[in-house]
Amino acid sequence: MAPVFHRGQLAIPVTCILMLGCIFPLALLAVFSVFEVDLDAFTLVPAFSGQNWVQMFTNPVFAFLIGKAVVSGAGTAVLAAIIGYPIAVSMTRLPVLWKGVGSIVLLTPLYTGEIVRIYAWRVVLGSEGLINATLKWLGAISEPLKFLLFSPFTTHLVLLYNNLPFMVLAIWISAELIDKRLIEAARDLGARPIDAFFKIILPLTTPGLAVGVFTVFALAAGDMMTPSLLGGTSGATPMAMIDNLFGTAFDWPLASALSLSLLVVLLVFATGFVGVLLRFDGARAVFRRGAR
C-alpha cells in the first residue's frame, strides 16, 4: 500500500527550500555583519565586532537612506491603491472576454525590460522629449519643464507606473470574489455607488489591498534602477549603497549590517501595513468565507 501523507508533510520539501534559500543567507548576513575586514590580506576576519551596528545607528546617512526607501515605497503603494481601485473595480464589470484582454493590457508594460522602459520614459519626459516638445509647440512653455525628468517626481511617477499592475491585479482578484448581490443589496438599501464602494467593496477587498500594498511597497522601496537612472541627483538608494559596499569597497560587514537593517525596517513597515489592513472586519470576513 502506498504511504499516506498527512497534508502537513507535503509542505516539508518547500519548507526546506525556504529555509535554505532564505534563512541561511540571512543568517550568513548576520554573521558577516559582526566580522571585520582585513584590507591587507583582503579577507573577512571572523570577529565579534559591533562597530558596523554602531555606525548603523549613529551615522544619519543610513537612517536617511532607509527612511527614504520607506517613504518612497509607502508613497508609491498609497498612490497605486488610489489609482488602482477604480481600474480594478471597472475590470470586475467587464464581460469575461474583456477581462482577459484587460489583464493582458495591464501586464504588457511588464514584458518590456526595465531598462527599455526607463529609456522610453526619458524620451517622453526629457528636456527635448515628447511632453516638453508638445508643450513648446502649443506655446504653453518657452523653456522645457526640467522637473519632468531627473527629479523625485520622475522617480515616483515611474515607480507608480511599474508597480501599478501588481496593485490592480491584487485588488481585482479580490474584488472579483465579492458576491455581486452584496453590491445590489447595498444599492437596494440606499447606498449610492460611492457608498457601496466604501462600505462594501473597500472592506471586502482589504486582503487584495494588503497583498498589493505589500508587493508594491517592497518593489518600490527596493528599486535601485529607477531612482538612479531617472531620479537625477535625488536618486540615492540604500540598495545602491549596499551594492557599492559589497562590491567596490569590499566592506562586506558594513554591507551586511546595512542589508539586514534595510530588510528589518522594510519588513516591519510592510507587516505593519498588512497587519493593520487585515485587522479590519472586511478581511476577517473574507478569510472566514474562504475557510468555510
Partner: protein, 360 residues
Amino acid sequence: MAGSGFSRRDVLAGIAAGTAAGIFGSSSSARAAVAEMVWATWDSNGHPEYVAAFEAQTGVKVKLSYLSSEDAQFAALKTGTASDWDMINPSLNGSWRYIKSGLLEQLDMSKIPNAAKMYDVFKTTPKVLDASGKQFAVPYLWGLNPIVYRKDKFESEPDYTTLFNAKYKGQLAMRDYALESIAIAGLVAGVPRDKVFVMETKELAEAKKLLIAQKPLLRTYWQTIGDLTNLFATGEVSCAFSWRVPFDVLKDKLPMGMAKPKAGIMGWCDCFAMPATLSAEKSEIGYKFINYLLGPEYATQVAKIGNYATTSPIIRDTLSKEEQEAIFVDDMDVMKSFMWPVAPENYSEWLKIWNEVKAS
C-alpha cells in the same frame, strides 16, 4: 572601455553568475594539448578579429568570456567559482586586490619579450608587483577619461571647475561613482593630483562641501557610459566627466568635444594576468598570449577599430596623426598629467561621504 577601475555594478549578479559557473563549469579535466584558452575580459578588449592572428599563429582557440564588472570578476575568483577562466583582466588600479589575495600566478617576465618595448610609465609601475617586488600582472591597454562636452555650448575648453560652475546649471553631469567624483572635487579644492587618493579628513570634508554645492547644478549622476551617451544625445547634458565613448558615438551628429584637464587626467589601464591555479601547460600559452597583446597585430586592430592604445609604442609611428590623436598618443606629454584612480584603503569612508552627498 569599462576597464576604468572599479565600477558600481550589481555585485549580486556577479556572485550569482559566479555560482552558476561553479556548478556547471567545473570541468577542469587536464587535456594533453591545449586546444582552447578562456579569456575573461571586456567586450571592447576582446573582439574575435583582435585575436584571430593569435589563433592562426598558435592553433589555440581563444574563447572570450565577457565580464560584467570588475567586482564580479574579483568575486568570482575570490569565491573559486570561475575555474574555467585561464586568463583574466584586472585593472591596473585594482590589481593590488588580486595580488594581496593571492589569486594571481607570478609572472616570469623573461617569457614576454614584447614587455621590454612598453612605455616606461607602464613598464615601471609598481602596481603590478607585490610587496617583495614580484610581478603578477602586465598592463596592456589604456586610455583616459576626458571631460566630454558640446562645443556649441561652451566658448572655451571646459576643465574640472566648469563642472562646479553655476553658470552651467542643469547641463552638467557627474558619474555616480565615489572614487572619481570625490577625487575631482579634491582637485578643484586644490589638492595636488598625487594626493587626491590619499586625502586627509579635512580635505575630504572640503571635497564633500564642494560636491554638495555642486548637486543642484547637475542634471543627474550618470550610471553607465550608455546612460551618459543617451544623455548627450537627447540634449539633457552638455558637459560631463566622462569616458570617450559619447564623443566617438556622437561626433558625427553633434559638435562634440573632448577636454583633458590640466589639473590631472584620470587614466585607466587594463592588465593581463593568470589565475594562480592555472596548469603549467596553459601558462605557457598564456605567456604567448600576453606577448601577442603587446605586439603589433593586436595594437593595430585595437587602435583602428576600437580607438584604444596598447601600453607599447610598437606601432605608434605607423599611425597617421589623426589616428594617433584619437588614441591620445600624438603628444606623449599626456603621460605626465596622468593620475590613476586608486581605491583608498578607507574607501568605505569615501563611499559614506559620497552617499552623504547624494542624500543631502
